[in-house]
């Protein structure tokens, strides 16, 4: 080899190595951020899954029905969650046989006690801290698994607030979203791919659908507000209003992915079916649709996951609100997981901070699960023709 071309070869190798290094560095950087993000969110959110309880002697007397604070000793009553006291009268009405008895029970501690036991900044004064320390030495405090977090709705008392109402709200909203956008999107895609003639009108529609997928999601909130709430008159904050708004947002994504799935079915299959005398609808429903179903489902699941994490459009239809009760219908006021996360993240009290992170963890787990389902579907039904 002549020296010139040898030199060029060496330079080519060197620049290739350099480029490879840059790529690797970018990858490492992205990886580091991901690790930091997960470590941060897990370390912040993990404590929320454990909640302080205190063992106290509860004496059920007739007076407790009127003044629940009398059920425990005056000293410890400040350390117990007010939400526990609140349910006492009802409990006594349901179980009158308890009246006159005294029992030793584990009860939900106040949020400040919880934070103190977790070595976090808290609002306890010196005396209260000493009391908690004493109880701890007597083994009368513990951190138990936080079932409240999963069974309770939002609350002004951090220790008894949970994601239940938001999770139920999210389920309702997603049901509406899918019920609206899946059939509409798939049928639109079928019409455009299988029935419509290729002319300027269908091309214009196609361009517009592609543009819609790129529109900032908050505009869908405005659209939802204008159409569903102001014009149709669907109640504000309802799962129906939120679901339809998110459905509008998912529609372009579902149409685009469904069209891609339909287009992936080779024409030879359509020819074969037409060739034996199938009608156009038979060709679509017997052959093209079943073959493209995995692709359609994959796209829809991804659209669903996207909608599930969406907050901006819901802000405008009033779903970002304090809603302690889980909705029991599609027109009840509801909130959703990301909205709950947002509400908690701006709350002042400390225990809400760990709940914010814990709710993010739950949402992340669900989203990862959905995406894995999509990947699984794609792999499972991947086929070559």
């Amino acid at each position: 080899m002549d020296p010139n071309s040898l030199k060029r070869t060496r330079m080519r190798y060197r620049s290739e190595r350099r480029f490879k290094l840059y790529c690797a560095m970018a990858l490492v950087l992205a990886g580091v951020f991901l690790v930091i993000f997960f470590a941060d969110i897990i370390s912040k959110g993990y404590p929320a899954f454990w909640q302080a309880q205190i063992k106290v002697d509860v004496s059920y007397t007739q007076d407790v029905k009127e003044l629940p604070f009398l059920a425990v000793g005056e000293d410890v009553s400040e350390l117990i969650s007010r939400s526990w006291f609140r349910q006492l009268p009802r409990k006594l009405n349901e179980h009158p046989e308890l009246i006159g008895t005294t029992r030793s029970k584990w009860v939900l501690a106040d949020g400040a006690v919880d934070q103190y036991l977790k070595d976090k900044p808290n609002g306890l004064d010196k005396e209260q801290k000493n009391l908690v320390d004493r109880l701890r030495n007597q083994d009368r405090t513990k951190l138990a698994f936080n079932t409240y977090f999963f069974t309770q709705g939002d609350s002004k008392l951090p220790e008894s607030s949970g994601i239940f109402s938001a999770a139920v709200g999210t389920v309702y909203v997603m049901i509406v979203t899918m019920a609206f956008s899946l059939p509409t999107g798939v049928l639109t895609a079928i019409y455009l791919e299988e029935f419509a003639r290729d002319n300027w009108l269908t091309r214009a529609i196609e361009v517009n659908i592609n543009n819609l997928a790129a529109i900032p999601s908050i505009l869908y909130g405005l659209l939802g507000l204008a159409i569903f709430i102001n014009y149709v008159g669907i109640p504000r904050s309802s799962a129906l209003a939120g679901g339809l708004t998110l459905g509008l947002m998912s529609l372009p994504v579902i149409i685009i992915s469904s069209r891609a799935a339909l287009r992936a079915v080779p024409d030879s299959i359509r020819e074969a079916a037409f060739g034996v005398g199938a009608s156009r609808w038979q060709v679509v429903s017997h052959h093209v649709l079943p073959m493209s179903l995995p692709g359609i489902l994959t796209g829809s699941i991804i659209a669903l996951a996207q909608a599930m994490g969406e907050t901006a459009p819901l802000l405008l239809v009033g779903m970002m609100a304090f809603i302690p009760e889980a909705p029991s219908g599609f027109t009840d006021a509801a909130t959703v997981m990301p909205a709950q996360i947002y509400t908690w993240s701006s709350a002042a009290l400390r225990p809400y901070a760990e709940r914010t992170a814990a709710a993010i963890l739950v949402l992340l787990a669900v989203l990862i699960l959905l995406n894995l389902t999509a990947v699984f579907l794609r792999k499972r039904y991947e086929r070559t023709w």
Partner: protein
């Protein structure tokens, strides 16, 4: 031999793709229980022509057709003829085997089912078996009917496609280069099959292979640049062509 009955015919058939005229005034008669081969250089319009015979070309956007196509003296582009019913009577086999990605059984049973030709159960089983037998595939796959069709060999797949077409008992079978994607042995089987099927139906076959045309067909039409140059008995066309272009093509001087 040519006083046989005319099963299908085209008269002055013209096909346009947009502005491009792909076929010019093509008139060919097809006789019942004969095999007619369509030959000609690539791009001369053979596929276009054969696809007009069962209105598959209707599905091509931008295509336009003028002229008449008759099946038993009935004009197939007239409004009284339904494209779906026409395609039941005029079956088609494509260049590349294109079985449905379903079981062997399903592939054959599909068309009879949508046309309501056989009831589920033994009647359908019977029909599937006879169709596979007609296509010479029963011996090979009769015991593996639930196997996915795509797991068969290329030649078997093509015969499955023929069985699928035969299951609705068509009167005419169109074949567009049915053996061009197959090896010589599979090709031989298809040719034998064509010879056997002739007694049941009328066959029109496009082929690039001159030997194949002379082996399987009774009559041959030579296409060139969208026109039919010559139609005659295969024997005559290959031994004493009346047109110079035909002679040049069959002796391999162009195309």
């Amino acid at each position: 031999m040519n006083d046989a009955q005319v099963k299908m015919a085209t008269r002055e058939l013209n096909v346009y793709y947009g502005e491009h005229r792909a076929l010019q005034d093509v008139s060919i008669p097809f006789y019942a229980h004969q095999v007619t081969a369509l030959i000609g250089p690539s791009g001369c319009g053979k596929s276009t022509y054969i696809r007009c015979l069962n209105r598959m070309n209707d599905l091509v956007p931008n295509s336009r057709i003028e002229g008449e196509v008759y099946l038993d003296r009935e004009e197939i582009y007239s409004t009284s003829m339904d494209a779906v019913e026409l395609r039941r009577r005029v079956g088609m086999v494509f260049q590349k085997p294109n079985p449905f990605p379903k079981s062997v059984y399903e592939n054959v049973a599909y068309a009879p089912r949508i046309h309501g030709l056989a009831r589920k159960g033994t009647e359908m089983d019977q029909l599937v078996e006879t169709s596979l037998r007609k296509a010479g595939l029963w011996e090979e796959v009769g015991d593996r009917l639930s196997l996915p069709a795509t797991s068969l060999s290329g030649g078997q797949q093509q015969r499955l496609c023929i069985a699928r077409a035969l299951a609705v008992e068509p009167e005419v079978l169109l074949m567009d280069e049915p053996a061009s994607a197959l090896d010589p042995i599979a090709t031989q089987k298809i040719e034998d099959l064509i010879y056997e099927l002739k007694s049941r139906l009328t066959i029109i076959i496009v082929t690039h292979n001159m030997q194949q045309a002379s082996r399987v067909s009774d009559r041959t039409a030579f296409f060139y640049m969208g026109e039919v140059v010559e139609v005659d008995d295969t024997q005559t066309l290959f031994t004493r062509p009346s047109k110079k272009q035909t002679e040049e093509y069959i002796t391999g001087r162009f195309g």
